[in-house]
Symmetry: D2
Subunit: 512 residues, 4 copies
């Protein structure tokens, strides 16, 4: 354990890139009540700016409909979904895909819900569809609004399961058709790609060359980032190895590195999906380990890219069929019945950090607001599969600058016991579809543990000795205190009411 003396002068503002975007299951699922309740919670506690998911053009959204030979572009569901997003304070990060069956050149599909992954059988019809969709959005939501929505062309075209034969030429052609028709609707709309998966950096050069050579519009570039190894399947689940957290940050940086010197250098970079495991049935997502692992990623990525979008905000997700158990290793920050997982709390803690960064370290981030409030995010570093397991305790010691003579701290803890619904669920015998009483228990156990205490400020500083449990992520808020005690007060006359611990200048060993 080291002792960090946090400087009183800020390093700069805390960027919002960590919550610029979040991922979601296919857009049809956004019609569901549990999805919407989950999103409302996430928006209350985190406040993402954009949301991105697959399936905007898939059959279950009913955008392209044919009846008795007549074709209709139809927005019954799309409007319902986007209306609701905006009501909940989040904007669409539009992903154009997959292919409507009526326009597909083949029958290959991805996922349990069968998204068609083949190119359009006719580029003119595809262009007409894209034009109809984008023009409708502009008509309904206004040009000023839709110009703020990034539009990404397809998803992971470098993988055969997402794009027929992973055909690069075919993708570039699709990209060109799409980008041109979007700009034709309005030149101020923003389009980008290539939305590639990890391990495909060889796509950057040809993509840059293609768009440059043909002068194809591109307003941002995008890729995905995951650190898990091959899937080890068991019934209804998967285990995987994990690389260390820094690998995620390296993946974030890759586009800038690969595009340096090209015409695309300097474009905004969006990591349009990231997580530890890319599997929706790996229980790692449910754990405190996941939160501790991602803490340095969330705090460390803020200045590397324009966004990195956690895949996904809730477990309402059906790529691998309907989940058979409340906890099932889903990507979600929230489970089906809206239980927050440890990683949810990590995000909620980040959302409460102050505006200015005072210090960053391998196990902490310290921020401050203009009114003197100091916030600390601290965690136990974990290293992935090849590093030794985390010990039972981790100590973080910080000297933080606070104005005035007294201070109050509230600390919230998430670890293998506290704020950990997954732990309680395992103790409850892993009930696959819990009843009302069990859900209440789990909801209660999902709340971070809270500690609080008074501090004397000495020399303009408060000393925080934070003892973290295994895989803990902890949030501390330090509030300057303006005492309002009055002369008549004498709590020694109150039965059982000794007041010693509150006296300024006499902090007690204990809690926080």
């Amino acid at each position: 354990m080291s002792h960090v003396v946090v400087p009183a002068e800020p390093l700069g503002r805390l960027s919002d890139s960590w919550r610029h975007c979040v991922g979601t299951g296919r857009l049809n699922l956004a019609l569901r009540a549990d999805y919407q309740e989950s999103l409302a919670l996430v928006q209350r506690d985190v406040g993402f700016r954009y949301i991105r998911g697959h399936g905007l053009l898939s059959d279950d959204m009913g955008v392209l409909r044919v009846s008795q030979g007549e074709t209709r572009y139809s927005f019954t569901y799309l409007d319902q979904v986007f209306d609701r997003f905006l009501e909940l304070g989040v904007r669409p990060f539009v992903e154009l895909g997959f292919m409507p069956t009526a326009l597909a050149s083949g029958e290959d599909t991805v996922f349990w819900w069968k998204g068609n992954i083949t190119p359009p059988r006719d580029h003119g019809e595809w262009a007409a569809l894209v034009r109809a969709v984008v023009a409708h959005l502009v008509d309904r939501y206004g040009l000023d609004e839709v110009r703020t929505w990034p539009i990404e062309v397809w998803n992971e075209p470098n993988l055969v399961n997402f794009w027929k034969d992973a055909d690069q030429d075919a993708y570039f052609r699709l990209y060109e058709t799409t980008a041109r028709v979007i700009k034709d609707v309005d030149a101020g709309l923003r389009v980008g790609g290539p939305a590639i998966s990890p391990g495909s950096d060889e796509w950057w050069a040809p993509f840059a060359e293609f768009v440059t050579a043909r002068d194809v519009p591109v307003d941002f570039v995008s890729r995905h980032a995951y650190t898990s190894g091959p899937a080890q399947h068991v019934p209804f689940g998967t285990y995987q190895t994990l690389q260390p957290p820094r690998s995620l940050l390296e993946q974030f940086e890759a586009p800038r590195r690969h595009l340096a010197g090209t015409a695309l250098a300097g474009l905004p970079v969006h990591i349009t999906e990231f997580n530890t495991s890319y599997r929706p049935d790996n229980p790692i997502h449910d754990t405190a380990y996941n939160a501790a692992y991602l803490a340095p990623v969330l705090t460390g990525g803020t200045d590397l890219v324009d966004s990195y979008s956690y895949w996904t905000f809730c477990d309402v997700f059906e790529e691998e069929n309907v989940p058979t158990s409340l906890f099932h290793g889903g990507f979600g920050l929230l489970t089906h019945r809206q239980l927050p997982k440890p990683t949810y709390h990590l995000y909620a803690f980040m959302a409460r950090m102050g505006a200015h960064v005072l210090a960053r370290g391998e196990d902490h981030l310290v921020c401050r607001d203009d009114d003197g409030r100091v916030t600390v995010l601290a965690w136990q570093p974990v290293g992935g599969t090849d590093e030794p397991g985390a010990p039972e305790r981790h100590a973080v010691r910080l000297s933080v600058p606070v104005p005035g003579e007294r201070a109050f701290t509230r600390r919230e803890r998430v670890n293998e016991h506290d704020g950990n619904a997954f732990a309680a669920w395992r103790e409850l015998g892993r009930p696959r579809s819990p009843g009302r009483r069990e859900l209440e228990v789990l909801r209660d156990c999902a709340r971070p543990a809270v500690e609080h205490r008074a501090h004397a400020v000495a020399g303009g500083r408060v000393e925080l000795d934070l003892a973290l449990s295994r895989h803990e992520v902890t949030f501390v808020e330090v509030l300057p205190v303006r005492p309002e005690e009055h002369p008549g007060l004498d709590d020694r006359r109150l039965l059982g009411g000794s007041d010693d611990r509150l006296v300024a200048g006499r902090p007690v060993p204990g809690t926080a």
Copy 2:
């Protein structure tokens, strides 16, 4: 127009069979927010007791799941749906079907959403599935509760599109397996069938013989009722002819008629689906005509059967793909954005009728509560395709018994203009996916027109002269008045406040 003197003595209580059950789109749709909002509205204004829909066992409910060779019965979604039904005050009328793909003997499907309609490939596995489902329901909701839930075996097995080859023997075998395993879970559970479509009364005799001969349990019988002719398709829509309303009542009565003399005589009869048209894209469902047509059916069927279940409570329904327009001829009492259709108001009016029936006629029903409140439902009779069109006006004149010296009436009107969102939508140019402002307009125009006035009671009676517009359904509530005017009051001194019309004994010609 005739003048009906309503008797002061009741004919009997108004039975609840008209709202015993209501239909719904496939159960997976019950996860949706708009579905649940619609159901909440319907329950507030109508208060159905049970709800019945297809697809409990279809793949998108995830009840039967296989992974790496391991089979699981899973209730992630089913519990969510039934929990919500019960929270909204409505119980499941369980329909067992369609076939999970993993258990199907073939690949034939029905509907856009591809419900598998083939028999189980193994009756033992089917029985195991049914046992698991029913036992789970008993475990989660309690035996006392689940004993009140009717369980119906399959849907319209007499039609080739719902049951492979409409194979009667195969259905009877399925029925027997299912009924026996249900009773094996608990003998007090209630099972029934054969859920046949209109025009298949030849199934009654063999069904009765089969269950009698083999002593197969049967607690109720069920069938469906519709009065529409062949579909005349246009793009995104269908027109059809209609038989007269009395045809529905005849269909209601058919099971009792056909089962007279068999061992099944006297069993409860449930009409588990009924409507004018059986097509989810026939605009008749959106009209005031539909409400006027069904008024004598709702009021006339109460003593004929144990339930008749309107198909369906809302337009969230996908049997013919995703609707492409707000109004599209869907079955619903409510549209997608929760606009009430005229038939919704008919149901809501029925829900406000008094407890005791005073009079029934071809264009009216009069009820009374114990506290003297009298309610009237009146309508313009319409006759279906082969009868002449309804005139512009229809008069209903009733003399109703009211205690005391004064009365107040509130009248609500639904017709081609009032309480008619469809009419306003057509005037608005039929916007397929209306924006916020248009939805507000439509919501406003969907409310019944309200009229009110004071009456002097003469000879214990109030005279109601009701002038109905075209296709009108009207509701009148007559409240006895206990005046609380006091001596100091003199509204002639109030600017513009002449009070003449309120003086007892001096009714004014006018409104109600």
Copy 3:
């Protein structure tokens, strides 16, 4: 009836002064649930910017407390009230008064709730109190926020019932002390007065001279406006005569007229109270007459002053003791149980007017939004006590400019029958404390009647022939229609569904 051809070019923007402020019963009442529910409704439908009421410093707010000789400035209730105002989207228009008993120089009080109206017994203590209150507001709500809150010194000091002996010198002294201490807290705060009642214009000159001579800060001036004559009391009620509506507008203009040429010329003018009658037990406030009377005032005053504040938004008000009846002549736009009165609808109609004024007349105001939506407010002119009673009908004929080929109109009507809970309540026998059923009836009858129809646009215009009933205020919204009918549609094939009236170019005589 004249025929007005509404110009297509706007006269200017519709100012917000009509909803800049609204009055309320004493601030302690703001703690009540019914008050807050009423305010939430008003804010949803009208959206006032500020709210002003008496009693901020009266004992029941507990701001100045003394215990065992120790003095405390206490904000337990004040913070609760102002927090809630801001949550509901309305800001305080602060009125400093009445005198805390502990600081009063006498025992004279006003109202049933006994507001002390005597000067402070010590100006230093008064200044300390004002300083404490204002500094607390700045501390809690922020300086930027509080600088937008006008602070008015006392209420109607020219009347003996509101200010001991109506002593002008004493008021000027109070004003000076108060204004100086406020500016001492922050020079950017805004202070004003003299908050005089109608009929006291002789105060303007001395007030201007006083503040000019002594260089006392003044950021705005204020007065009240009412048009009722002497009270004619009956048990639990009052009748009064009324001057014509233009008298209110003349009162609005008076301050500018009287201050012309003084140093106060050009200051903002706030009419911090206005209404027809100044009595909280005059039934005129409950009537459609009141709405028709005020329509030309609301529409005509927008450019005369910076605000005119309707006294008051709801009937939760106790100046003349606890009301003994639901309708009792209270000032409120809403009754105790949140029934909207006709004048509520007038305000709600105004809130839906477009941004730009196209035409103003003695019986109409026409506005338009940038998207082509046209709105009309029309009313039957009424003249007060000395003018003849209004006839049964009033016709307004307008030719309004509309883009495109078709249009839709929705009309809402409030008159002696429609949108008139008071009329229904009288018909119900004036139940003083209605039960649940009666309240539902009244709520239903309180809604404006709605009419709608399609129009063909001819020559860029739609002709509106509006037939108004007695004391009617009517709102019409004209929406340009973009038809989405499709070729397959043929509603002649729909039973009872003749579509003639919807055909463009063939409008039908009728409804709107």
Copy 4:
């Protein structure tokens, strides 16, 4: 510490008398939003059956109104209050008092809000008032309902501050008039008294003699119970000594003891007020000490009387003027801004106890539900002023019977740190009117700490070793576990996911 082996057979059902009734500030305060929000919380978490407060007939309820010589009984506010109580699931325990000024024989008042405590100047008018009120209640709420509402005559007539001269004869006369007129409205209504304060047992004999001799109706008897000594005033507060908790139970038993052998023996006994201190400004009410002190009273009184009504459910209360600070020693279970105090949690814990009592002890109560769920309430015993202070720790060791092989426990803790908003508030510097951020902190710190773990059931029992902190009240819920682990599961393969502590039969030392 002893080790208690809890029997597997119940001693009997847990009576509801502990939550039969709760006290409230004067009824006019029930109109307030914060009051209603507080009551909704209390009803959600505790679920009281009845609620009792002063001031039903005081002027601010406006029940008796006179205008221009005309008298009205008016229910504008009373109906609003009682309607809301019933909506929130709690019934009125009616207390008739204080005297309307218009009917009073003198000017003596009690409390800051000036309840008039003098006898009626005319018993006929008093009888008319009571008759009007009771008849109105029967008319509005129905006879069946109102027959369940106890009606108590006046409050603490044995004290000079509550009843002019504490005149016993005058009270008996009032009681007789009141009881007779109530029975005259309906013989099934229930009336009682004498609502005496502690230390006045000399009233029982004369009361029994009076009603017996004159055959005056009496359906129940009532008194109050407090254990505090004389008030030691400081500015804005009071300190007092306390007798031991058993003194409260002795006061509960007193009526039965004193009435034994009289005609009133066997009547229901209601303790219509109880608490530690009778002062609304004694900080003891805010403490964990108060909860620990009352735990044996709540658990020990259930079979002694028919109800004991905690005075009061929330701090919305003005007997000693408007509170000047969030925490101010008010009676409430909840503070003004709806923060739960430790005693709130005690009540909420009681509400979650099982139906059957398994064991009672000096530091615990153990209950069980029919489904095997076991609940424990445990506390550190405290003794009042004359006993030594409580030590830092208190251990409770229980062996509880649980079916099956595994169990889960959730424990909630309230003590000097956990679930203790008052402690956090003191650390925050006692902010008198906290802002939004501080309120959020306090709300967070007001939640009980939660612990959970798995247990192996050995010999049908789980061992609970509960280490309690100072002044702790703790709640434990033991749930039998039906494990649903499946063979494919191997959390050792999950990073950081060692599963050892969950294995049945291998409990870990630790938490619960």
